[in-house]
Assembly symmetry: C2
Homo-oligomer: 429 residues x 2
């Protein structure tokens, strides 16, 4: 996609008034409800993105959750630095308008990357000029600290903190780094072109200037889960297919039960149509794993490495048969990852995973700092993450090869419509 | 490419003997001269890669230099831990065989990712199973410290250190980190799929176990230069097209003059057909840059942001006219980046750049750690890098927005043929 020819020559600077842009936008998707800082959608000079590369953003749920998983990701958590509720709301409005523009492959702001006043900083940083929309989605969420800190409630959000938005307990083997954990806001940008995802996070960070600042960020270079039956199952850095049993966008009844919040009332009603994002940066001791015999690797996972079939037989999508006995006991060992994580051993719980492989250079000991940036969307982390992770951290032999170095839980508000903004139900519901 | 279906079912473990594999390979490209550790090429169970995705490796020069720049990169420097020359040579042989296999989209080693003995670690780590060859190239080079350390010559390489393989001087503004600089060996893996590039570095690191270990590594998520006229010019994280004036693979006469070593004699004859790689990790103060007015940005660069045309007019590939005067002096200011870096102001010197954008999370101050991993291939760093970088570090206003945090210079030996290995001329010439 980086080989596309440049778009047609720019419009003359200032040649389009904001009014004409708003009129031109026309669809109702764009241009309405510009935020306090004036980030209106921009009728860009970039070429129209191919429709197939544009993910529709408006709807009951935010995009980037059941959207067929894109290949690359840049995720960032932010600390809100303003104390002013109106400024926070204005930030969410501005972000929403910018996200709408970028998802269409357009530059953000009235002036785009180059058409603003010559003596002002450009509104768009420009590194995505000429790139396709690349199925960009940006998903926004709220951390527990947005609702209250040591001083009590923040931003007038008394009574709005959902009970499910917990602080995770300490799990055995956790080695969490403060600088890679938590945050008041999360921004998950996914796209098939990494430059498009990086551009999104960077420009949202820029828009946030004076209101919020990046706390941590992470690039994921390759998806580790499929979220659609049209996608094949990718491999994690242990070399195994990851997410074979993942919930898929086609599993609408399961999604309703295990992912989407519904029927919440009172101070939590704003979360209906939303979900919870659990993020864990899981470093893998890949050098140790790579010295583990194939048979042991497969026993630990409970699947064959090449096909991903359960050790009880069949092919990748065959249900594991935990009762089937081999010479030395069950063919799929009770302590294997697939057994411990299986819904039948977790009160029927399922999750929608959407993680990414990462590699962040090298540690001081000549080892690659590589692993899985785990992301799961669940209806309630108390029932859908904590019990399973407790069991995995305690019993899963795989845990010996893993170290959780970052962590975050975020409430993902529902979707939005034309003229609305992400998080509107929290502040105006 | 991650959506490709899995390859056909695996061969039975151990069902192919090494002999039959060698016979099957047949082409002479594969299977010869297996290294001391036994990393022969493997007739993989992965599907044959589409020919278009396979870059031929054999020839006068190594691949990955004039190869049309791939979209993603993983580069790593290694410290050699063995003191034994034969072990070092064996490592280079093993690496070469593995590189040949991976560039064909094959698994490495006799057993591949899963077909070895069940009670032994797999020879290939497996995360690239099912992925296309993705135009993988792996380019190997030698650092100055490979030839000598404080104790004198290493590995019997007296008299073999090329004069051009210098230690770079300190440039104004350098903030080099020891842990991101230097190294005895460099491995530059480029591919259109990042998982393929990461797989290559990781498996070469694994093969090196006990002989060399990773000193630093860096992922680049998007190319910042074109090396072929068939490619459009990509943008760096300042939002500008980067590398418009770059040498291209079509410029054969220029390449002969500015990139490839020729006519070296005596102890340096082994470098004929080789080149020198200069690596600089250049962090950009993007938050500061983003607050700079468009006009100032363009004056600093000397080109327009949208089209990349020089400020003296025309389109991207129009030669800048440094004499053309505007109201306030030359339209392309003498202190602009394009002027300072232009061959006419650098004794006609040109370079082949092959850098990548990077983003490595966040620093402790809420800023993205992002920038350019600069890579250039030049015939001699003394004439083709030091003078220009001295001028840029001193006079380029752009330097205020940059900080060089990592550095390395490596001698890139010539290419190799069937049965040969990378670096053979150094050890056997």
């Amino acid at each position: 996609m980086t080989d596309r020819p440049d778009p047609s020559p720019p419009s003359p600077a200032g040649g389009l008034s904001r009014r004409s842009l708003l009129a031109a936008a026309g669809t109702g998707t764009l241009g309405l409800a510009a935020g306090a800082a004036g980030y209106a959608a921009y009728a860009s000079t970039r070429e129209p993105a191919p429709a197939s590369a544009v993910v529709p953003l408006h709807g009951e749920h935010q995009a980037g959750i059941t959207t067929a998983a894109q290949d690359r990701m840049h995720i960032a958590a932010f600390d809100v630095t303003t104390q002013d509720r109106d400024e926070l709301v204005a930030l969410l409005r501005d972000w929403t308008r910018a996200i709408e523009a970028m998802a269409q492959g357009q530059e953000i702001g009235e002036g785009g990357a180059t058409s603003g006043p010559y003596d002002a900083p450009p509104e768009d940083t420009g590194e995505a000029i000429g790139l396709a929309a690349s199925r960009l989605t940006v998903t926004i969420g709220f951390g527990r600290t947005l609702f209250r800190d040591d001083g009590g409630a923040r931003f007038g959000l008394e009574g709005r903190l959902p009970e499910a938005l917990i602080e995770l307990p300490h799990f055995p083997g956790d080695a969490l780094e403060e600088a890679r954990s938590g945050g008041d806001l999360v921004v998950q940008a996914c796209a098939d072109d990494p430059q498009v995802a990086v551009h999104a996070v960077r420009n949202l960070s820029r828009i946030a200037f004076g209101r919020a600042q990046v706390r941590w960020s992470q690039i994921g270079f390759g998806r580790t889960s499929s979220t659609s039956r049209a996608q094949s199952t990718p491999r994690n850095l242990m070399g195994f297919k990851d997410g074979t049993a993942n919930l898929k966008s086609e599993d609408t009844a399961f999604l309703q039960e295990h992912v989407w919040v519904s029927g919440a009332s009172g101070g939590e009603a704003w979360m209906n149509g939303g979900t919870y994002l659990v993020a864990r940066r899981i470093r893998m001791h890949i050098e140790t794993w790579d010295r583990t015999p194939l048979g042991e690797q497969e026993t630990i996972i409970g699947r064959t490495k090449r096909t991903g079939a359960p050790l009880s037989g069949g092919e990748e999508f065959t249900e594991p048969d935990f009762a089937l006995q081999g010479r030395d006991g069950p063919l799929v060992p009770a302590g294997s990852h697939v057994a411990l994580a299986h819904p039948s051993h977790n009160d029927g719980v399922r999750m929608l995973r959407r993680g990414f492989n990462y590699t962040d250079g090298t540690d001081g000991l000549g080892r690659l700092d590589a692993g899985l940036f785990f992301i799961a969307f669940v209806v309630d982390p108390r029932t859908h993450y904590v019990p399973m992770q407790t069991a995995l951290a305690r019993d899963d032999i795989l845990s010996e090869y893993l170290r959780h170095t970052g962590s975050g839980v975020f409430a993902i508000p529902p979707g939005f419509g034309a003229g609305g903004y992400i998080g509107q139900t929290l502040f105006e519901g």
